[in-house]
Amino acid sequence: MKTFKIGGIHPNDNKFSAGKRILPVALPKQVIIPLAAYLGAPSVAVVEKGEKVKAGQLVGKANGFVSSNVHSSVSGKVVKIEPALDASGYKRMSVFIDVEGDEWMEGIDRSTEIIRECRLTKEEIIQKIHDAGIVGLGGATFPAHVKLTPPPGKKAEVLVINAVECEPYLTCDHQLMMEHTEEILIGISILMKALQVERTVIGIENNKKDAIELFKNRIQARSFDGIEVVALKVQYPQGGEKQLIDAAIGRQVPSGALPIEVGAVVQNVGTVFAIYEAVQKNKPLIERVVTITGKSLLNPGNYMVRIGTPLANVVELAGGMPADTGKIIGGGPMMGRALMSLDIPTAKGSAGVLFMAEDEARRKEMKNCIRCAKCVSVCPMGLEPFLLMAQGEREMWPEMENDRVMDCIECGSCSYTCPANRPLLDYIRQGKFTVSGIIRNRKTPNP
């Protein structure tokens, strides 16, 4: 069975919410919609305090190419526009909307009817995706239209669909695939048209056999041409863009390059569903599936949540915060961020909320490096985390750059594996931050 070639770990997957149907979450009293809850330049507010808005109405306009539109997820009244704490732990400019009723913008098709035909041109599709504010829903929240517009001279050959969901605990993508198989396949066809590629590979890890079967059957039954499903051996971090391309189509993206260098474009399966809704149903990205999970949680599950809904509202449905909670994580346990409270809004990149018990919440005491080389053998980028940490401790930035610190994808496999509990990734992350500053300065020297 296919997988990526270098490194990798096998954490317990703990998918407690697997197979739980996606449940809608009641509208909250107020939503907080961040104007910059994605990677790129913040959008510019186009509504004012006191203005009435409908669900699906534009509230933040994309500011530049690598930026994205932001829409209201509810109908109601804008009460204020000011910074609010979000999942990243920073305060960002956000639109606060008090919910009144549930009135949607005209032209948005909210029925469950599946619309198969798409007569739009390549440019029209990309424009619609841009207008709908679609960003990568796998976690990086990179604006989707940017990936669909290869730089001049580069041509996409293969579309790779990331349906791996290699993070332990999370099941939102899996459940979406089970409930919206056909919509996702139509979304893929639309993307193939937008990119003008003949071939798509859907990479699914073998712990989701039901999804693999379902997709294979649907592709055959509805004769979707050029789409193939590849079952991948379960291994973290297979959902890493470079690892997935290696696993699914056997091409290695060169160090420092983007996937388009090897002719690949990767989109997350949740993003594909959002693209289907945007193109076929005129629906902007204003809700997403969120997994609420944890070992002590009463009722782990998958929920369809309007963007901006406070996470506390969603958690209530899952049985409330467990008494033994020591840490709350936004996202999965490997790459997610620890949250300071549940009073933050659901963002476009919020794949899950994970409750960890107190006994798991704290790191163990760090010991001397025993040079066991386990971090080296698990690193999916072929780096030497022990060395990068030692360099980081001594602030040896040029050496870190030389040892390819910028290649690190921050998957956390090294820290996960280290028998001495060394915080390898912490130092590497700091090194990446400093080294990227040094590289920027070199490219644009001060006058």
């Binding site: 160090s255 840490k327 997610g336 994970l354 798991e360 001397n368 025993i370 040079r371 956390g412 028998p419």
Partner: protein
């Protein structure tokens, strides 16, 4: 109740303060002591064979070595380093003691064993700053110190006698490699070499027991195959060529593989985490180096056995190997 109020941890939970730390938020549960314990478990088969063939002497030597290694580590950390945390609980001192004893003859006087442990822990390990910082394998530092200081005692090997109750007065004889070097004596049968019915240091004699230990460590993923296989293959190939050239003078490659502590060295000594290279290719280069130096010492050198020296010499090259041999990077071609 009072206790609860004064306990800050309890207070925190009452206020529901959350832990906030960077990802990853889960850990494999692996630890230094688990790895050390794994190696110790892998040594059990060879230890049982040692107890069977060398009896009381093996028991006295091994227990002395383990206790003195732990004691010296404790004393040095407590009174020389004056450090609050003492690491004898991590199992590495126990392992050093066990491995040291495995490299000693079972009739070695207790005071020599204690001296060896002092050198192993004091000079081999703690003088560099403790576990993780030592460039040389501590157990081998202890053993080589004893070998050079007390060559007579360190090369008179008790004959294997089942359930032996003799210690210092044990009947001794040469090892197989010494017989070959000096051209005398009848070599033991291959089956005896496999099960360990031959003269030698405590833990080196039984090939089967050592290979069981290797299999266990590979399955538990405590070590990878690269170092032991490259050492054994190199020794086999090198001595095989010599044997083909002249079977009269040179012993067969099988004899070389099964004797002189090669398996003990290749499986347990050379694979020491701290002193071996980090990358897979580096491990293979290190293993080939050990194999070549071992054969050169055995066949052309003054000592009949060369595994310890070969490993120590290659230990010295480990930083150099680490600096030049990098693991295979993802996307080798750099895009500027």
């Amino acid at each position: 109740m009072n206790e609860q109020i004064h306990n800050p941890a309890q207070q925190k939970s009452a206020e529901k303060l959350l832990v906030v730390s960077p990802a990853p938020h889960i850990h494999s549960g692996d630890s230094i002591s688990k790895n050390m314990l794994g190696v110790i478990i892998a040594l059990i088969p060879a230890y049982l064979v040692a107890l069977y063939f060398f009896g009381l002497g093996a028991l006295i030597v091994s227990i002395t070595a383990v206790i003195s290694c732990m004691l010296f580590e404790y004393l040095i950390q407590r009174f020389l380093f004056r450090s609050k945390s003492v690491t004898i609980g991590d199992g590495s001192a126990i392992l050093t003691g066990l491995l040291l004893s495995f490299n000693l003859p079972s009739n070695l006087p207790v005071w020599m064993v204690v001296l060896g442990a002092l050198v192993a822990i004091g000079i081999g390990k703690m003088s560099f700053g403790g576990l993780g910082n030592n460039p040389f394998n501590p157990a081998l530092v202890g053993r080589v110190f004893l070998l050079i200081s007390f060559p007579v005692q360190m090369t008179s090997w008790p004959r294997p006698i089942p359930m032996n109750m003799q210690y210092l007065d044990a009947e001794t004889g040469p090892t197989v490699l010494a017989m070959i070097k000096n051209h005398f004596g009848q070599l033991p049968e291959t089956t005896d070499m496999l099960i360990g019915n031959m003269g030698g240091s405590l833990g080196e004699v039984s090939a089967i027991a050592l290979l069981i230990g290797l299999a266990y460590m590979l399955i538990r993923k405590i070590i990878t195959w690269h170092i032991p296989v490259s050492i054994l293959f190199t020794v086999f190939a090198f001595t095989g060529i010599l044997y083909l050239v002249n079977p009269e003078t040179y012993a067969s490659p099988l004899v070389h593989l099964l004797t002189g502590g090669l398996l003990l060295g290749a499986i347990f000594m050379a694979t020491d985490y701290v002193t071996s290279p980090m990358s897979k290719v580096g491990m293979i280069i290190y293993g080939i180096g050990i194999g070549i130096i071992t054969v050169v010492i055995r066949v052309f050198g003054a000592y009949p056995e060369g595994v310890s020296f070969a490993i120590l010499i290659m230990n010295a090259f480990t930083p150099l190997i680490n600096a030049y041999i990098k693991p295979k990077r993802f996307g080798e071609k750099i895009k500027k």
